[in-house]
């Protein structure tokens, strides 16, 4: 679950509910992280199609990563990640 809240940071209402987020979005920026774990870990900020931004692991394929490319959600066991969308 991404960004769960107990209160709305705009109107301060406690009447919050879970919403389904889109599985597609745009890669705002990214880095390949070489510290803090094993090997190289690509991470990025994804701006989902409903305007929510999330930090996510990024899977690299044959297409080089670049800002503003379309990405889509992938699930691998308990792990979730974003990867370049088909057509990129």
């Amino acid at each position: 679950m991404i960004g769960a809240r107990v209160v709305c940071s705009s109107c301060v209402s406690r009447e919050v509910s879970r919403v389904a987020l889109p599985a597609t979005g745009v890669l705002y920026s990214f880095t390949r992280l070489h510290v803090g774990g094993e090997g190289v870990r690509p991470v990025g900020y994804v701006d989902l199609d409903d305007g929510v931004r999330t930090l996510a692991d990024i899977r690299e394929g044959k297409v080089p990563l670049r800002p503003d490319m379309r990405v889509e959600l992938g699930v691998d066991g308990d792990d979730w990640f974003f990867a370049p969308a088909r057509g990129e």
């Binding site: 960004g3 920026s29 992280l33 803090g36 931004r53 800002p67």
Partner: protein, 383 residues
């Protein structure tokens, strides 16, 4: 509301570096004694003590001040991450400017070697920290986006480090005093692409102390004239749940706007800036935030030598966080010490001729939804 003029009347620090065998107390006591002596005052003249640190544990300030028998008066421990020391400075300035105190001591101290290396420990409660986010990754994503949106190249990120090391080589308080080349910076170990190790500030320990006084106390106690605090501004980050422009950090833009208004000066008046170059990309972004240049044109300013000695405004004459080092809570106070020395002609080999106006800037980050959690800006005027 603000009636009293406030002055920095003395400054002291120890060289930043890896002081593995030192305690927080051991790091801070020596510059504390030096700062009081240089101000020409005794401990009984101090009305309040403000201590910035993030990882010192409970009562760090009192553990330091008790060593010289400085008690009974208020001692305030301040944590605002990398802005801790500058926030302590801001609190002291508020107390004096409002007439609640006449003389305040500000201590910034940190020992990062206690963690044995690696990236700065962030709050384990933060959702992005739980996902594995570390500060180099945040700045690396800023860099990726900035390079994508501008004409700047990765070599420009390296040039920031080259300049910092050139300045640090002149500063006896700097952790790194060896110059480096663009090629060396680019060939260094990658940390978070496009940032290499030499584009990241080092892990280190240190302490810095300044004494602030009201105009009234300065006369009464016969203290040196010192430099006037023309602006002291502290902002907190505003949460953004959706998209955020990582290359245009609103917290630093708005803090700078307020600081310029408070001081009645603009970027064109500044002779020097000490800014929060925790990673080299930050310096380019802050050139734009402070109005030194227009959007996306920071790299040209750097390449043209406008921000080094002999240029329009010397940015990070001390070597900045990249070369002088960044013991988190100490950095904001060390920046003020540098401004004090530059504006009073005591900066030695790195002296900026006839420096009249200085700006210091630190942020404090590492929280999901905020650009940075805190930003502190001070502007100082020479006597």
């Amino acid at each position: 509301m603000m009636s009293e003029n406030v002055y920095v009347v003395s400054a002291a620090m120890i060289p930043f570096g890896k002081h593995r065998s030192s305690s927080y107390v051991g790091l801070a006591v020596s510059p504390l004694i030096d700062a009081l002596r240089r101000a020409g005052i005794g401990k009984s003249d101090v009305d309040a003590v403000y201590v910035g640190h993030s990882y010192g544990g409970m009562m760090t300030g009192q553990r330091i001040t008790k060593e010289i028998g400085l008690g009974t008066i208020p001692t305030v421990n301040v944590d605002n991450a990398c802005s801790s020391g500058a926030t302590a400075m801001h609190e002291a300035w508020m107390a004096i400017s409002r007439g609640l105190a006449d003389v305040a001591v500000i201590i910034g101290v940190e020992k990062l070697t206690q963690f044995g290396g690696g990236t700065l420990p962030l709050s384990p409660e933060d959702r992005e920290v739980k996902q594995g986010l570390v500060m180099p990754a945040v700045y690396a994503m800023r860099a990726t986006r900035y390079l994508y949106e501008s004409d700047a190249e990765v070599e420009d990120l390296a040039r920031v480090s080259v300049k910092a090391r050139k300045h640090g080589a002149l500063n006896p308080f700097a952790q790194f005093r060896q110059e480096v080349t663009v090629e060396q910076v680019l060939a260094a170990r990658p940390v978070a692409d496009p940032l290499t190790l030499l584009m990241c500030c080092p892990t280190g320990d240190g302490a810095a102390v300044v004494v602030l006084a009201s105009e009234r106390a300065r006369g009464r106690l016969g203290m040196p004239p010192g430099v006037r605090v023309a602006a002291s501004v502290l902002h907190s980050g505003q949460v953004e749940e959706g998209s955020r422009d990582m290359t245009k950090p609103e917290i630093s833009y708005e803090s700078a706007r307020d600081a310029y208004a408070q001081a009645g000066v603009g970027p064109e008046d500044l002779d020097m800036i000490e800014l929060h170059d925790a990673f080299s990309i930050a310096e380019l972004i802050y050139y734009e935030a402070f109005g030194l240049t227009g959007k996306r044109s920071a790299a040209a300013l750097l390449r043209d030598g406008k921000t080094t000695f002999g240029g329009d405004v010397v940015v990070n004459p001390s070597g900045g966080l990249l070369a002088k080092g960044h013991p988190v809570g100490a950095s904001g106070v060390a920046q003020v010490a540098e401004a004090f020395w530059q504006l009073t002609g005591q900066a030695g080999a790195r002296q900026i001729p006839d420096a009249r106006w200085a700006l210091t800037h630190v942020t404090g980050g590492g929280t999901a939804g905020l650009d940075h959690g805190a930003c502190t800006i001070h502007i100082f005027e020479a006597p």
